[in-house]
């Protein structure tokens, strides 16, 4: 982990609810940033005290840019939307345990802004010669990032309210797939999506990994605020989303 200053290069709205923030960071940190890892960004705004965690949605080794897709949620993400190109931003990075990139066929299942880390993961898998299919479910047009679908060939979009892609839920996409034709599955999305997907994936024999989100104060394992219940080795434990995760074995997570 390093505490460093990045330079905002671009901050543009993609939809009513999502914006894309690109930050130039020192070159030497780039190789340490892996899919699933995240940064804690310091937002200089009235009343905002804690940093906010965001997963990397992409890293470009050539330009030195990191990309975040950010959903407008509250005070912090509202203030961050106003940051201008040319402004400096304090970042703690890279944080957390990322995805295990495996060879073969991977199925990526994203719900809403959960697409962010999976975009980065998909690129990394392809770079390493693996094959990917993506199920990308959104609530409505405002949650849909069009540029994602331009990045990948094998992507199916589902929308809860008629909008982009087919009408339906992520779960409909999962049911339509022969999941056993994949070697591993990766997920990121809201809890309701994860809960719905869980029974379908319980008997899948390959690796299933999930990236979780949580309120956190520090992001590096000190506050113990971001824990999630995990069942492993016949024991229930609280694990830190920030340090033991955010990527966990999906079968072990108690949702």
């Amino acid at each position: 982990m390093q505490d460093l200053k990045g330079l905002v290069v671009e901050n543009i709205p993609l939809t009513k609810e999502i914006y894309k923030l690109q930050i130039s960071v020192p070159e030497e940190i780039l190789p340490e940033i892996i899919p699933g890892s995240f940064a804690m960004l310091k937002i200089e705004a009235k009343g905002v005290f804690l940093r906010r965690p965001f997963s990397f949605a992409d890293v470009d080794l050539k330009t030195g840019l990191v990309t975040f897709y950010i959903k407008l949620v509250g005070k912090g993400t509202g203030a961050l939307r106003e940051i201008h190109p040319g402004q400096e931003i304090s970042m703690l990075l890279p944080l957390g345990r990322g995805f295990t990139v495996m060879p073969g066929k991977s199925l990526l299942v994203a719900g809403g802004i959960g697409i962010a880390p999976l975009n980065f993961l998909a690129r990394e898998i392809i770079k390493k010669g693996g094959e990917i299919s993506i199920i990308y479910g959104v609530k409505n047009e405002a949650m849909f990032i069009p540029e994602i679908t331009k990045n990948f060939k094998n992507i199916e979009v589902y929308s809860e309210i008629p909008g982009p892609g087919k009408k339906g839920l992520v779960l409909d996409g999962l049911k339509a797939k022969d999941i056993n034709s994949y070697d591993q599955i990766y997920l990121c999305g809201p809890n309701v999506m994860l809960q719905a997907a869980k029974p379908y994936l319980q008997n899948f024999s390959g690796l299933v990994e999930v990236s979780l989100e949580s309120y956190m104060a520090c992001g590096f394992g000190a506050c113990l605020g971001c824990v999630v219940k995990v069942f492993s080795n016949n024991e229930i434990e609280y694990k830190k989303v920030c340090k033991d995760g955010p990527v966990f074995n999906f079968k072990e997570v108690v949702l």
Partner: protein, 307 residues
């Protein structure tokens, strides 16, 4: 310029240390700075038995601060002694063990254990955690229980004994005096304020434990006043804590009567804050031509008398 301060028989090379529970066991901060720079290392509360802690969500932001209900999650004394203590004993010369118990006997057990380890230089008794159902704040708001715990530990523990008080009482000076009379060598003022946040969308408390402890700059004025009041009430050294996020904030505590200070929530926001603060306090003394930080302690009171 001299940043050295004395707490009982301990000499700290500077007055800055982490507040228990905001710094883990120090290991998470090792990449950011050399922990030897700190005046002392205060570890997260250890209990006799391991504790899972409270159900999440456990932290949430409030205006100019945060609220937490971690619930003293920790691996327990045995694990700490075997696995953690060897890793952290050389991180700083002055290691302060913060302990909590569900009963007087548990405090006594931990004090007896701590007494055996030379690398533990002081004990800080947590009788002020608002997030546990047994012990914690219940001891710190019950004068008789507080006296009993402090005097029982005092009989067992011969090194420096610090008591960390809760602000959730009508008059903290009563508790400060009681702790002093029961044998405390120093007081840490203060732990978090009991509080609650309600999610208006779900119409339910945000925290899994429903309520928690508020910390950060939001509580600083109350913390400064409690240090100010206790400085007049007791003669043992005070360690001030509550929303220190700048040199100026730290100076307020010294002027109110603190001999040393602890940094809490700000460690989460800026993990390298404490070494910066130590540097800035040194610069301040030089610029102001003050011979030592100890000269500042309680200065706001002397000004008051002059008026």
């Amino acid at each position: 310029m001299n940043l050295e301060v004395k707490i009982d028989e301990l000499t700290l090379k500077n007055p800055v240390m982490p507040a228990s529970g905001t710094f883990g066991f120090g290991l998470e901060f090792k990449d950011i700075f050399d922990l030897k720079n700190l005046g002392a290392l205060v570890v997260k509360t250890i209990t006799k038995n391991p504790r899972l802690g409270n159900r999440p969500p456990r932290v949430y932001e409030v205006s100019c601060g945060m609220i937490n209900s971690i619930g003293l999650a920790n691996p327990g004394w045995d694990y700490f002694r075997e696995k953690i203590l060897p890793q952290i004993k050389d991180l700083n010369d002055i290691l302060i063990l913060n302990i909590a118990g569900e009963s007087v006997e548990e405090f006594e057990y931990l004090a007896r254990e701590a007494q055996r380890f030379d690398e533990i230089k002081a004990l800080e008794l947590n009788v002020s955690c608002p997030n546990v159902s047994k012990g914690g704040i219940a001891f710190g708001t019950d004068l008789e229980a507080l006296k009993q715990i402090v005097s029982s530990v005092r009989k067992i523990y011969s090194k420096t004994l610090i008591v960390k008080l809760t602000p959730n009482v009508t008059d903290i000076t009563v508790y400060a005096k009681a702790a002093e009379n029961a044998g405390a060598d120093a007081l840490t003022l203060i732990n978090t304020f009991s509080g609650m946040v309600i999610d208006v969308k779900s119409k339910k408390p945000v925290l899994g434990n429903k309520h928690g402890g508020v910390s950060g700059p939001a509580i600083r004025p109350m913390a400064v006043k409690m240090v100010y009041d206790c400085f007049k009430a007791v003669s043992i050294p005070l360690i001030g804590v509550g929303g220190i996020d700048s040199k100026e904030a730290a100076l307020e505590f010294f002027l109110a009567g603190a001999t040393a200070i602890q940094v809490g929530s700000q460690n989460f926001v800026e993990p390298g804050f404490m070494p910066r603060l130590i540097r800035e306090l040194g610069e301040y003394l030089r610029e102001e031509n003050i011979e030592g930080i100890a000269k500042l302690t309680g200065l706001a009171h002397r000004r008051e008398e002059n008026v």
